[in-house]
């Protein structure tokens, strides 16, 4: 039981930092290592850690399965949709220059949108996989 206590307190202490680190990896990916994929895995990892120490119910309260299931296709749609914007504005598919008057700024915006799409799909897939495994085991 005492080990359990250490786990619970330790998890509570470390969880906010893991989630913050995921956001850092996501938005600092333009400057340092990281990006949508890594941030997605880290944020999924924080939900999985919560589920392991505090039970599936607590994890499902912050990441409801209905939302997680929708995240899996939503990210791909964000990514593909960012490409369609280029087509609608008379440019090539996935041409990011359309997102801003200044083409270089447009590229920065495009990268940000696309990375967000990757984050949503990766995080959704990892959490959905974990839920599927755990519920199968019941």
């Amino acid at each position: 039981m005492s080990l359990d206590l250490i786990l619970r307190v330790g998890t509570k202490l470390i969880l906010p930092f893991i989630m913050l680190f995921a956001l850092y990896v996501q938005f600092h990916g333009d400057y340092g290592p990281g990006g949508g994929f890594q941030a997605g895995v880290i944020s999924a990892g924080s939900v999985i850690l919560l589920a392991i120490t505090f039970g599936l119910g607590r994890a499902k309260r912050i990441a409801p399965p209905a939302i997680v299931d929708r995240m899996v296709p939503l990210g791909v749609l964000i990514f593909a949709g960012a490409g369609v914007v280029g087509l609608l504005r008379g440019r090539n598919y996935l041409d990011y220059a359309v997102f801003h008057r200044d083409p270089v700024h447009g590229h920065e915006w495009g990268i940000l949108i696309v990375e967000a799409g990757v984050l949503v799909t990766v995080a959704g897939t990892m959490i959905a996989l974990f839920y599927a495994f755990v519920e199968r085991g019941r």
């Binding site: 996935l94 996989l129 085991g137």
Partner: protein
């Protein structure tokens, strides 16, 4: 060199290990070693992915799979010559092919001659993103990354559909347990 030796030792340990729980733990160690190798090779983004996916999420999923199949011990199998021969031949062919690669880090090898110099020189003025890895992944090679995202989507959906019980299935179990 020390890292590669450790990798070989861990691989041998995985092959020799009979307890599946031990295999999962060794897989995690293997992934962290691989991440260290990637850091030594200056591929920080890959190292991050390897550490988070290989040592983090897949360890959890493998443990969950162990829980599902409810065995922790692997059956002792007879040594079978044909698969052994096949993998030795494949491994030998890979080593033989790797011998013909240009030496590591030589600037005039073909891979550094094609589009890489342009990416390195132009990526900041064209995309405004200092991390060239992000610029290549999300901008120059956005099509490939879209394909990767689709692969993750397809794989994830497929695995979840296989694992999740259908509503009818769950109702039938409920009926039987009553």
């Amino acid at each position: 060199m020390a890292l590669l030796t450790l990798l070989a030792v861990v691989t041998l340990a995985i092959v020799r290990q009979r307890s599946l729980f031990g295999v999962v733990v060794l897989f995690g160690i293997y992934s962290f070693l691989m991440a260290s190798v990637m850091i030594v090779l200056d591929a920080v983004d890959v190292a991050m992915t390897e550490a988070s996916v290989g040592a983090g999420v897949s360890t959890v999923l493998l443990l969950a799979a162990l829980h599902l199949i409810k065995t922790i011990e692997m059956r002792q199998s007879r040594p079978r010559p044909l698969p052994l021969l096949l993998s030795v031949v494949t491994g030998g062919a890979l080593v033989w092919g790797a011998l013909a690669l240009p030496p590591f880090g030589v600037p005039d090898s073909p891979i550094h001659q094609h589009v890489a110099p342009r990416y390195l020189q132009k990526s900041i003025e064209e995309t405004g993103v200092p991390n060239v890895v992000t610029a290549v992944l999300a901008d120059y090679r956005a099509f490939d990354t879209l394909g990767e995202a689709t692969v993750i989507f397809t794989g994830g959906i497929g695995a979840v559909l296989l694992l999740r019980r259908s509503r009818r299935d769950a109702a039938a179990r409920e009926e039987r347990s009553r």
